[in-house]
């Protein structure tokens, strides 16, 4: 059985107003899906007292080099963030 290659995703580089849970410093960054969580109600809707459509939540793993570039103290260290499906897009061709 061959190990499946990790699924690469890019965090959408959007900056809307509102109750956004996707950290600004990760927008536009490419990571790998570490695991799938949820579905959970979308907090962007819950915050305005709507019921919140349940969405998959992904734990995405980023390298420090990807997040901070040359400023990363340990470029191969990683950081995990939990990000809702609608903030992610495929990034198969990313390095």
């Amino acid at each position: 059985m061959t190990q499946r290659s990790p699924v690469k995703v890019r965090v959408k580089p959007l900056i809307p107003p509102g109750h956004v849970r996707t950290p600004y410093y990760l927008r536009g960054k490419v990571g790998e899906i570490e695991r799938t969580l949820g579905p959970f109600p979308n907090p962007e809707d819950l915050a305005y007292n709507h019921s919140g459509k349940p969405l998959p939540l992904y734990r995405v793993r980023f390298s420090m080099a990807e997040v901070w570039g040359p400023d990363a103290e340990n470029s191969t260290d990683t950081i995990d963030a939990e990000i809702y499906a609608h903030w992610l897009e495929p990034a198969e061709n990313a390095p």
């Binding site: 580089p13 959007l14 900056i15 107003p17 509102g18 109750h19 956004v20 950290p23 600004y24 410093y25 927008r27 536009g28 907090p43 819950l46 915050a47 305005y48 007292n49 997040v67 901070w68």
Partner: protein, 145 residues
């Protein structure tokens, strides 16, 4: 990208007009998030330089305990969610972290959410605040039933 100090730009604008025009121009030209970092919301401060993390502790005051209890009661009664609580905190002015304490920000958000949920009206709040203020100047006097 045309800048506001371009000598070929249209003359006779006030500096405020020029600033607004430049912001609109930059916004329309922005293709990626880092082209327009001003749109970053103030509370989303992860990754910023923050200095040392304070580790000092303190006993909670009666006011802080009461605000916390109120919040837990509101959640238990389903009057609003933690998401709505945070949304109001994030919508506060950028200097609220410097001008208000943690529980002052909490009670402000709690109040906004209770008015939004129809638990009480602004007029009812005003009347109650006047009643409490009439009890006395100290926290002890104002807390008396």
């Amino acid at each position: 990208m045309q800048k506001s100090d371009d000598p070929t730009a249209a003359p006779a604008q006030t500096s405020q007009d020029t600033t607004q025009a430049r912001r609109r121009h930059d916004f329309l030209q922005a293709r990626r998030w880092h082209d327009f970092p001003e749109a970053r919301r103030w509370h989303d401060m992860g990754g910023d330089a923050a200095g040392p993390v304070p580790s000092d502790q303190h006993d909670y005051s009666m006011f802080e305990k009461r605000v916390d209890a109120l919040m837990m009661l509101c959640f238990a009664k389903g009057l609003f969610t933690v998401d709505a609580m945070r949304r109001v905190l994030e919508d506060m002015a950028p200097d609220s972290f410097d001008t208000m304490t943690y529980y002052e920000r909490w009670v402000s958000s709690l109040n906004t959410n209770l008015i939004e949920s129809g638990t009480y009206t602004t007029a009812e709040l005003a009347e109650k605040m006047a009643q409490v203020a009439a009890r006395g100047q100290t926290y002890g006097e104002a807390s008396a039933p």
